[in-house]
Amino acid sequence: MKKYYNSKPILNEAGNLKRTGLPFNGMVKGVLLPGDPHRSELMSKQFVNPEFVSKAGTYVAYKGKTANGKDVAVVSSGMGPKCVSTVLEDLSFAGASTIIRVGTCGGVQPGLIPGTIVISSGCVRGEGASYEIVPPEFPAVADPFVIDALSRACEEYGEDYMVGMYRSHDAFYVESKAAHEGLRERMQKWIDADVKVVENESGTLFTFGHLLGLKTCSICVALGSMFDELDENGNAIYAVYQDPNYLKSRIETVTKIAIRAIEILEQEGNI
């Protein structure tokens, strides 16, 4: 894909990209992008021959092979648009071409079942970062080939999934199960417009990814609906956290699906 945003790479003395530690021109094409820095290593355990690449800031990178011998890598971003903008720019300098965000999200729709797999079609730009690079009317859309590959991978593994609209934003405590008062009033227009889930990275991922000539998409596990009941003490705990092993197994499942999607894209020349 064509690149519409150009800049000079910032390298350290070792010749690696300074901000993220990623190797300049030394990365594979297909990259999984979790938000949590601790998740890179866990996800890399599903690669064949996983190999540590680099660590700087919140950016932890591993690479390896898929079951069919295709290249794949994982790089954590950290939460929010600042980390995504930094890592995307460096990933484009490192030689990546397809980025799949693998993470968690909160359900916007009341009653959304905890653990549901949601693949992004596009994203409401409720964050601030993308307004610095494209005007408000510019769409944040996921790459259709990646959506297709992720969907087929879900079907191969017999996993239910939905493809739908995401909303990205920057203030967790304004739109989440733990939000300041008036949540339903703030969210009603997004509920009515069929937005499925809320998270913090896809708005920047899709718009800046487009300018950088990267194919991007997100596949996330819903933690539960933001309108689920509070616990008996009035505290908020998303349903999937009641059993930590359940969330772990769901993350493993979407990781497996994303790795298979990278393989499908490689095999069909769409990476």
Binding site: T58, G78, M79, G80, K82, G128, A129, S176, T204
Partner: protein
């Protein structure tokens, strides 16, 4: 909006994102963005013990001049910063100073100097979700005064999440820099404005202090050894301000 978020935790009571609870922090907190730097800053206080390492939040508690002090990372950008302020409020954080290395766009600022933000341009998204864009991102005066008394400079920051865009490395970076420079902005960062607005809304005492590590106008930057010296000086100023 009435600012009273709900306590969000794991089943063991640790906060959802910070991964710590009340007993793991003190009311005085120093924040820095990079989780890999917390260990370094913790080594500058006494009896520092790691309390948490969850997502991008690494937390140490110790003492400075006999008074309890916490050093914690807050991640990069407005999103993890807004969460840090919210969750610190839930577990007893009161006075919070952010220390980071940042770039200057004012030619009069020398690399190695310390500058505190009296206010910040709100070019990020998090603070806009809390309140109208007309509400200014300003420092808590009590904390700012304690920084001023230690002879640090005072200036205006601009916080945003597309950091490399306003840099000489981007194709139109200098044009973008000059737009803000002409308005009297001194420093670019990614966290100060969300910290100030969310802090004000939640009635927390917050201030942001930066070490000038690079000047985009003069082209100067600090060497590793100068950075080390600057970081130690920055930490001391913040710790002194919180230990009075």
């Amino acid at each position: 909006m009435k600012y009273q978020s709900i306590r969000m935790t794991h089943v063991d009571g640790r906060m959802h994102h910070l991964g710590v609870k009340e007993e793991h922090i003190s009311k005085n907190v120093i924040l820095t963005s990079d989780p890999n730097m917390v260990n370094y800053y913790a080594s500058l206080m006494d009896d520092a013990v790691m309390q948490g390492d969850y997502r991008e939040y690494v937390t140490y508690k110790g003492t400075y001049k006999g008074k309890e002090l916490t050093v914690m990372s807050c991640g990069f950008g407005c999103m993890p910063m807004a969460i840090a302020v919210e969750e610190l409020k839930h577990i007893g954080g009161e006075n919070v100073i952010l220390i980071n290395e940042n770039v200057a766009v004012n030619e009069d600022l020398k690399c190695g100097e310390l500058i505190a933000a009296k206010g910040a341009v709100r070019s990020e998204g998090a603070s806009r979700e809390y309140i109208d864009i007309s509400y200014p991102a300003v420092a808590n005066m009590k904390l700012l005064r304690k920084l001023i008394s230690q002879k640090v400079k005072i200036g205006l920051f601009r916080s945003h999440d597309m950091s490399n865009l306003d840099s000489p490395y981007a194709f139109d970076g200098m044009e973008r820099i000059n737009r803000w420079k002409k308005l009297g902005v001194d420093v670019f960062d990614s966290e100060t404005s969300s910290m100030y607005v969310v802090g004000s809304c939640l009635k927390m005492n917050v201030a942001s202090l930066s070490l000038i590590s690079e000047n985009y106008i003069t082209g100067d930057s600090l060497s590793e050894s100068e950075l080390d010296e600057g970081r130690k000086k920055m930490f001391k100023v913040a710790a002194e301000a919180l230990s009075e």
